[in-house]
């Protein structure tokens, strides 16, 4: 059988590379590094370590990043964003509205949400920060009920947050940096277990972490805290003012969330991490309806097609307060 050049080339390429084996340690290093972002993901607690906080509230991130569900494009949300001063005016207005809202009566909070196509119920005891998370349809390997002791900040801890815009901003930035440092320490501890010849992985993965500025931290941390259903009206009002004081924030007051509920979309592009984080605040400024993370489509370059945009969202369906422990 006469072999063509193509067949010979195929054979040659296979034989010339057949001995090459990918080192599994590279994978280990990458998995370790990429879990770091997850660890920081939803870390809210201040009295607990980053890991414990993530173990507790990270369940939201687990479900939200479940495969495939983030791809759905959301229609009808292309309203124009107002920049800067107009955005600030809207945020100040929202802040005033938040401050005027009645304080909820606890100590129990129950929140239902939808993330990655899965429904989930969270029950928080705001006296001690204990959290129960129910996710009946989370799938194999995920327990239907997750309990975390002191996994969320307690009402007392939240009450101790500064209330002036400037000091709250400083406080949040410091909190974010501490959580980040904690997550990095854990990552380094893992990396130290790698064999010596792979230690350079540590340097590479550390160097590839985005270098966020204070403004980046201020926005992302505020967004994380704002999402917390335990937030009091006064803290919510102060958080919205912190956002108003952060450059680069865009506000669209005629947005809708993925369920079509009217919302005020507050978003900011993080130039270091290269994605946009958006919070959909209810127009009455009492709660967050949805949080989004969006990565823009990469334009085609070098004659290659770009990558499509993606979007992940967590939609909060309801938040209710009660004096006794609610049922899931």
């Amino acid at each position: 059988m006469p072999a063509t050049d193509e067949d010979l080339l195929r054979d040659l390429m296979h034989r010339a590379t057949g001995d090459l084996r990918a080192r599994s340690e590279i994978t280990t290093g990458i998995v370790t590094a990429s879990r770091r972002r997850h660890v920081r993901g939803r870390a809210l607690g201040i009295g607990v370590t980053g890991a414990a906080a993530a173990a507790a509230v990270g369940v939201a991130a687990v479900a939200s990043s479940a495969s495939g569900s983030g791809h759905a494009a959301r229609p009808g949300n292309s309203g124009q964003a107002i920049q800067l001063t107009a955005a600030q005016r809207t945020l100040k207005h929202l802040s005033a509205r938040a401050a005027a809202a009645a304080a909820p009566v606890g100590p129990w909070v129950k929140m239902t949400e939808q993330a990655g196509g899965q429904k989930k119920t969270t029950i928080i005891d705001t006296r001690n920060g204990n959290v129960w998370t129910y996710q009946p349809d989370a799938g194999k390997g995920v327990p239907p009920v997750l309990f975390s002791k002191a996994g969320m900040p307690t009402a007392a801890q939240l009450a101790a947050y500064p209330t002036s815009t400037a000091s709250l901003r400083v406080f949040l930035i410091r909190q974010a940096r501490q959580q980040q440092a904690q997550a990095e320490r854990e990552m380094l501890a893992q990396a130290a277990k790698l064999p010596k010849r792979l230690r350079h992985l540590k340097r590479i993965t550390m160097a590839s972490q985005p270098k966020e500025t204070s403004n980046d931290w201020a926005f992302s941390q505020t967004a994380y805290v704002l999402w917390n259903p335990e937030i009091s009206p006064s803290l919510r009002a102060a958080l919205l003012k912190v956002i108003a004081a952060t450059p680069g924030v865009a506000v669209n007051s005629h947005a809708t969330d993925s369920l079509g509920r009217p919302a005020v979309e507050i978003s900011r592009y993080d130039p270091q991490a290269k994605y946009t984080e958006a919070v959909f605040e209810a127009p009455d400024a009492t709660r967050v309806l949805e949080t989004d993370s969006m990565e823009p489509a990469t334009p085609a370059r070098n004659g290659l097609p770009g990558e499509k945009a993606y979007q992940l969202y967590d939609t909060y369906l309801s938040i209710t307060w009660s004096a006794t422990r609610p049922s899931a």
Partner: protein, 173 residues
């Protein structure tokens, strides 16, 4: 990335890692640079794991992007290698690691004379066994371009003294 995703990711790498590294080697013409590209590719994949529908296709594209970027950034020339003069197809070592080590320098040197685009088309088409349509879609070119580039690239490889000899000697069995 949570635990479950990490397991899926590790599973994918266990299954496709070797092949990806080999593609990277052929695309970069250097085993060591290939390992860096491989690592960088997995890193980008890990960052988007939950959103990637087809990890293998994603890796192919990312590897090609990285290779093009490197080429632009440094205009790195492939290391000059002595071309291997002859190859006996009845060599009992054919297919074993020693043969691979001997075959690699002339093959990579010859591939190094191609443009990154030509190399990508040759590697994806003949090594990774992608159809012309798939290659065209992956690289964002027309099927006609894939066909003509592939045939030009193969002709060019044939002209390379080291590789031409290899192809000729293998042909005669």
């Amino acid at each position: 990335m949570d635990k479950k995703q990490a397991r899926a990711f590790e599973g994918f790498v266990a299954e496709s890692g070797d092949m990806l590294l080999r593609i990277a080697t052929l695309l970069t013409c250097d085993v060591h640079i290939a390992e860096d590209v491989y690592q960088e590719t997995l890193q980008r994949l890990a960052g988007r794991w939950a959103r990637v529908d087809n990890p293998r296709a994603f890796c192919r594209r990312v590897m090609h992007n990285i290779v093009i970027d490197q080429q632009r950034a440094r205009l790195r020339r492939p290391p000059e290698l002595e071309l291997y003069a002859g190859y006996d197809s009845r060599d009992p070592r054919a297919g074993d690691p020693l043969a691979a080590v001997e075959l690699r320098p002339p093959l990579l040197a010859a591939l190094g004379t191609l443009s990154p685009q030509q190399r990508a088309i040759v590697v994806l088409r003949y090594f990774d066994d992608r159809s012309e349509g798939e290659v065209a879609q992956l690289l964002g070119v027309s099927i006609g371009t894939v066909k003509s580039t592939a045939s030009r690239a193969v002709a060019r490889l044939r002209e390379q003294p080291g590789l031409g000899a290899l192809l000729a000697t293998t042909d005669s069995h």
